[in-house]
């Protein structure tokens, strides 16, 4: 569905995307995970044919954005980070005018708008001005709007940024339904839980480059380990502790004042530490996540 080789984006000498490769297949949910400024949005804009690439090869639905922009965009639904809804127009107007941009017949637009309002749970709000909607409603409307042209590929840039937890789950639920329908979804996010929830495969981006790729599980298992144990320790206890734990620990890292040990069996690590006579101030055994992957790859946290 999307293929990129050596994709570069430069703005006035600043390199936002520094030569990345990825392939996205039909029907998969593909994520771009990374902190703000990693180059995710620049990449999305290139894939959405809204921004010309500076270098490299890019094919979207088998076509070249440079020559076939309108033809590709006809097949794409874009959900931009800032919604770009018209606040002075009603929910229904926003949907319908977007359908006009695709030159769909008015009758078809009306029928689809009805269905999409239902899908976005906005039927009762059809005549409300966008001004008066909550953030979650606006985002659902933006998703519905992107669907008006029956796209093969949906691109969602930070779909739940700025939403409260309940609104996020509503959006995720919509996206799962689309995934079930076989729509190819591309999602950028700086939330690891979102990436873990939604994505079949993802790439981790940092400073314009892809630093890892795979399924969330693969990434976690191969780069950190299945489980993590966080300790707060006296400094005297911390020294040399990791070496004494031996093969139980695949990897260890300081997280602020905490020591985080990754291994296949967190409880076993904790038991061994206690058996060694070390008394941590506090300890926590948990599943390792993409946050840990990002930390391991870049030495920094996603949401710094």
């Amino acid at each position: 569905m999307v293929e990129a080789r050596g994709l570069v984006k430069r703005f006035d000498g600043f390199e936002a995307v520094g030569g990345i490769d990825f392939t996205i297949s039909r029907g998969e949910v593909f994520g771009f995970l990374g902190p703000n400024g990693a180059g995710k949005t620049s990449t999305m804009r290139m894939v959405a044919c809204m921004s010309p690439r500076s270098e490299g090869v890019l094919r979207v639905t088998g076509r070249d954005p440079e020559t076939d922009g309108p033809e590709i965009r006809r097949r794409i639904g874009l959900v931009p980070q800032d919604d770009a809804l018209d606040a002075e127009l009603s929910v229904l107007d926003n949907l319908c005018i977007y359908g006009r941009y695709f030159d769909l017949p008015r009758k078809e637009i009306r029928e689809r708008a009805k269905v999409l309002l239902e899908f976005a749970q906005l039927t009762e709000r059809a005549n409300t001005k966008v001004d008066e909607l909550s953030g979650g409603m606006r985002r659902r409307l933006t998703i519905a709007r992107a669907l008006i042209s029956s796209p093969e590929l949906m691109i969602l840039d930070e779909p739940t940024t700025g939403l409260d937890p309940q609104a996020r789950h509503l959006v995720w639920d919509r996206l799962h339904r689309l995934q079930g329908e076989g729509v190819t979804l591309i999602i950028t996010t700086h939330y690891m839980d979102e990436a873990e929830q939604l994505c079949d495969r993802l790439v981790v981006m940092d400073q314009g480059l892809i630093v890892a790729k795979g399924s969330p599980r693969e990434l976690i298992d191969s780069i950190v380990s299945r489980e993590a144990v966080e300790f707060r320790l006296e400094e005297s206890d911390a020294a040399g502790l990791v070496e004494r734990l031996g093969a139980l620990v695949d990897r260890a890292q300081m997280l602020g004042d905490r020591l985080c040990c990754y291994g296949r069996d967190g409880d076993a690590i904790l038991e061994r530490v206690l058996a060694l006579g070390v008394r941590p101030i506090s300890s926590l055994v948990r599943r390792a996540g993409l946050e840990d992957v990002f930390l391991a790859l870049t030495g920094k946290s996603l949401n710094d």
Partner: protein, 279 residues
């Protein structure tokens, strides 16, 4: 969460087909829709202000002028002050509408409502977005100028059928201001420049380009300056058409001047729009 079924046909089986409308027309339809939802806000400027202007300046001030220089003074082209000033006000209004419609709405479509951004995610190209908006501004000008001429006729200030051509001339004048303004607005980062342009360019033009008095009244150097301004050419063209004169060499000069300015604005706008929307 209630059980929710993705409705039949929500997602693609095949790409949506277009129906052969020119793409700029699709962008244009956005502005038309927006106007249909917000037109009440422009009633005053479209219908009431022209009436007030014609009453106050054309009749009020005009009565005084006619008494002093004679009702059909040569310096006013041999017509009453009302007939002299009506095309001037029309041209000055067209300039202001052109400037207004191409400043804040353009910036809003880029920065605030981001309507252009929404359009650029669809099959529309940047040029369609630009031309669609200009087409809307042209229609808005045409409509407002037609209303103005109709109201002028009510005041008895219309004598020639060429006043219909005058409507088109005033629309062109508005576009000659709108296209460079839109080009500039697409390049600006903030809206502070708009009030500066208004203070330093639009207000002086409004006052000194011959809308309200013949520029022969100005000192020679200033007169030369006034003759270089686009509003002067618009005013002169509208006035000669209102006076029933169509085929004049000077009209051709005015027309070419305004056309060139409008086309320059379009050429410039293509670049600034692309740079802004296709980064």
């Amino acid at each position: 969460m209630t059980d929710l079924v993705v409705p039949e046909g929500l997602v693609a089986r095949e790409a949506a087909r277009d129906h052969g409308h020119p793409r700029w027309l699709l962008a244009f339809s956005f502005w038309l829709l927006l106007y249909r939802r917000t037109w009440r806000g422009s009633i005053l400027s479209t219908f009431v202000y022209p009436t007030l202007y014609l009453a106050s300046i054309g009749i009020g001030l005009g009565g005084l002028v006619n008494r002093h220089v004679g009702a059909h003074a040569l310096s006013l082209g041999g017509v009453s002050y009302l007939r002299f000033v009506a095309p001037g006000i029309l041209a000055a209004s067209a300039m202001q509408i052109g400037i207004n419609e191409a400043s804040w709405p353009v910036m809003s479509a880029i920065r605030w409502q981001r309507s252009y951004l929404a359009q650029c995610a669809t099959p529309l190209r940047v040029i369609d977005v630009f031309v669609g908006h200009l087409a809307w501004i042209a229609l808005r000008l045409l409509f407002t100028c037609a209303v103005f001429v109709a109201i002028s006729a009510g005041f008895g200030a219309v004598t020639s059928p060429f006043s219909l051509v005058e409507i088109i001339a005033a629309t062109l004048l508005g576009l000659a201001f709108a296209t460079p303004m839109a080009a500039l607005a697409a390049a600006l980062q903030g809206d502070e420049a708009f009030s500066t342009i208004n203070r330093l360019v639009i207000v002086p033009l409004f006052l000194f380009s011959g809308s309200f008095f013949p520029i022969a009244q100005l000192p020679p150097q200033l007169r030369l300056l006034a003759e270089l301004t686009p509003l002067y050419h618009g005013v002169a063209l509208c006035r000669s058409l209102a006076g029933g004169q169509l085929l004049l060499w000077s009209n051709l000069v005015h027309l070419v001047y305004l056309l060139v300015l409008a086309i320059l604005g379009v050429a410039l706008g293509r670049r600034t729009y692309s740079r802004r929307l296709e980064r």
